[in-house]
Symmetry: C2
């Protein structure tokens, strides 16, 4: 089985590591714009061989794990090249634009739109991890548009990687993920920014930071190259979540200003049940 990973970073690299382990007969080829990433991926045992885009004619499976703006342009090209039996999997964090981009493609049935909810704040081949996907959710969009036997092939892989599957339409995916992923990244980046701005004059601040701060700003380490196109593609949904978040913060500030501390208590108490909601979501500790 010839597996081509386009983009040998955290997501593609982790997938390659698990697939090598689960499928004894597979050869992993890496394609990446950055030559040093390919070499690093070989040294780390993530891929076996370097390849170029034109080589995917020979692929059984192609995984596209690159920034979502590049995917929209590249995936139609990949579909042009691959054989009739090849499965092309996209793993990006937004699903509407990519599904639209290949809607009319003659090889639409070779394509599967997925979003594995897994990752860390790090990027590049060094960030790849074995078992990153174990116990995680994979959201599959427009499954009915993929050929039966390629659906089957994909589900077999995801099952061997230990993922649970949820089916969703691309628009609902993008709307919901704005709340539980995209907004978290913005809140974290802006928290980091607020404190760094202060720190310019107050060098002692970070000496006072504890694990709580580290946890809330962890996502501010994420890659701008990966996240800028995500925010661009999901702009409308992200703006909506951001408005609601800012409103809630303003309301909290107003309660402080008006000295309404019993209401502040209630605000926190009502949100405490996030404990139950989060049960089962494991925090990744890598910093």
């Amino acid at each position: 089985m010839n597996v081509y990973i386009i983009g040998v970073g955290l997501i593609g690299g982790s997938l390659a590591l698990d697939m090598q382990h689960e499928f004894k007969n597979c050869t992993i080829y890496g394609i990446d714009q950055q030559e040093e990433h390919l070499q690093e991926a070989i040294n780390l045992g993530i891929i076996q061989k370097k390849a170029e885009l034109k080589d995917v004619t020979n692929a059984d499976i192609v995984v596209v794990s690159i920034p979502v703006d590049v995917s929209v342009d590249l995936i139609p090209e990949v579909l042009n090249l691959v054989s009739d039996n090849c499965l092309v999997i996209d793993v990006g964090s937004t699903k509407t634009q990519i599904c639209q981009a290949i809607e009319q493609h003659p090889k639409r049935r070779n394509f599967l739109a997925t979003h594995p909810i897994a990752g860390t704040e790090f990027s590049g081949p060094k960030a790849a991890l074995r078992n990153l996907y174990k116990g995680k959710t994979n959201i599959i969009c427009e499954v009915e548009k993929t050929a039966f036997k390629l659906q089957e092939k994909a589900l077999d892989i995801f099952s061997k990687l230990g993922m649970r599957i949820r089916y969703m339409d691309p628009k609902s995916h993008d709307k919901h993920i704005a709340y539980v992923s995209h907004l978290s990244h913005i809140s974290s980046f802006m928290l980091g920014k607020t404190v760094i701005e202060k720190e310019k004059n107050e060098r002692d601040i970070f000496d006072m930071a504890g694990s709580g701060f580290a946890s809330t700003v962890r996502l501010a380490k994420s890659s701008p190259a990966m996240w800028t196109p995500i925010f661009e593609q999901n702009k409308d949904n992200v703006i909506e979540t951001l408005e609601e978040y800012i409103q809630n913060l303003q309301h909290f500030k107003q309660l402080l200003e008006e000295h309404k501390f019993s209401e502040i208590y209630s605000e926190m108490e009502n949100t405490n049940h996030i404990k139950q909601i989060l049960t089962g979501i494991q925090e990744v500790k890598l910093s």
Copy 2:
């Protein structure tokens, strides 16, 4: 050595566990408004004996680890009761009001104002952990107002617990800690609220949440009883940080609305150096 812990929760309980281990000759007495907490603390081996406030006449060390509003009223009473050689340590998250409250107390020299930057989002005796303080920062305020030999006693304990010490005046402490701790709690609570509000209608959202979301909302599990009085005592500083945070979020939203994605890229890139800043702060993974 008779050690009295007033408030046998996460902070006081963890301190009790470490002190038992480091000082073989110490007896730990627990004082707590909640009888079931005391019983639990005995069952968990956190304290050896239950006690009442009047018993602190007999104490060598009293640690006050209760909500900061209660501390302000209780610490003067504790100082009234203790002997001349007793060290009374406060470990609350705000320092200005408590330092003011005991400024003129005849036993001011028996008191040491500290803030160990350690903790988790959990509370109560069950949350107590051995080695919680190892490698963590302890901020000591107005050290010059504590008697020499009691300073020495306290530093010996903190050193055995593995803490590094930073000296600071109470006003600077409260101003800086608003950025690296109090603001993180609000950003986390309001992020949790925003997503929970949405989830009322959209039951599927939490199935899509990953480790990034879990990390950014972790602090939203924190105790309202502990945090409401912290926000109240540090109201002015907290409002200031919140204003700056909201401004940064609004600016980010505006960049989205105006489709300025190269500026969004720069915003994230500039904040990325939080990586270096956070090196050395360990995230606590307990959820």
